[in-house]
């Protein structure tokens, strides 16, 4: 039972354009969502998060949008840069107590110079 889904295994975007990565979840108990970026042979690196009381959170070039009714979130990267090429994981948790993360399967983003 995949509770967090990233339906696009890969995405290619021209440098300077917007990258949009999508994530869907099924468990309505999730109330905290995170995006991690992963380079080969390294651990996931935290990018940005959002709690369920918000519908948008912005940090520099990265913005995460949350649509609770649709159980959908997206990560926007503007403008995309070559260093953004990596695998991006969406993760979800419950905010209180044990905040174990449930991850999607990842989207490989390639930025084309």
């Amino acid at each position: 039972d995949q509770q967090v889904k990233q339906n696009s295994p890969s995405l290619s975007v021209q440098e300077g354009r917007i990258s949009i990565l999508n994530c869907d979840y099924t468990n309505s108990m999730f109330d905290y969502f995170l995006w991690y970026k992963k380079y080969p042979a390294e651990g996931p690196t935290f990018l940005i998060s959002i709690s369920s009381i918000k519908d948008k959170n912005e940090d520099g070039r990265f913005t995460v949008f949350l649509n609770k009714s649709a159980k959908h979130l997206s990560l926007h990267i503007v403008p995309s840069q070559p260093g953004d090429s990596a695998v991006y994981f969406c993760a979800a948790s419950r905010y209180s107590g044990n905040e174990k993360l449930t991850f999607g399967t990842g989207t490989r983003l390639t930025i084309i110079p």
């Binding site: 967090v4 905290y32 995170l34 991690y36 042979a41 390294e42 651990g43 996931p44 690196t45 935290f46 998060s49 994981f89 993760a91 948790s93 905010y95 209180s96 107590g97 044990n98 905040e99 174990k100 993360l101 449930t102 991850f103 999607g104 399967t105 990842g106």
Partner: protein, 114 residues
């Protein structure tokens, strides 16, 4: 150190051997998590510690898997009688404490069982 440190980075073992994987969390972090990442998949939760207490071990796939954090700092994940399906990257993460996300990950231990 500045980040989460895991050792060894790579481990090759023969089927049936026991292995031990070590995690040094960020200093002062109360919460510690272990995840298993199979090829082409996202990390999957194994177990969670708050200080030295193992509060959740629901993700451990069998009783061959055992984790401990005796002094509330360094943690060890032990796998007994390894099998080929145990081959994966094992990731450790820590956070300051309950309610204090995000989790910070180490670079993992890649375990290969021959």
């Amino acid at each position: 150190g500045a980040g989460v440190s895991q050792s060894p980075r790579y481990k090759v073992a023969k089927r049936g051997q026991d292995v031990a994987l070590r995690c040094d969390p960020i200093s002062g972090h109360v919460s510690l998590f272990w995840y298993q990442q199979a090829l082409g998949q996202g990390p999957e939760f194994l177990t969670y510690f708050q200080n030295e207490a193992q509060l959740d071990k629901s993700g451990l796939p069998s009783d061959r898997f055992f984790a401990e954090r005796p002094e509330g700092s360094v943690s060890t994940l032990k796998i007994q009688r390894t099998q080929q399906e145990d081959s994966a990257v094992y990731l450790c993460a820590s956070s300051p404490g309950p309610g204090n996300q995000p989790q910070h990950f180490g670079d993992g231990t890649r375990l290969s069982i021959l």
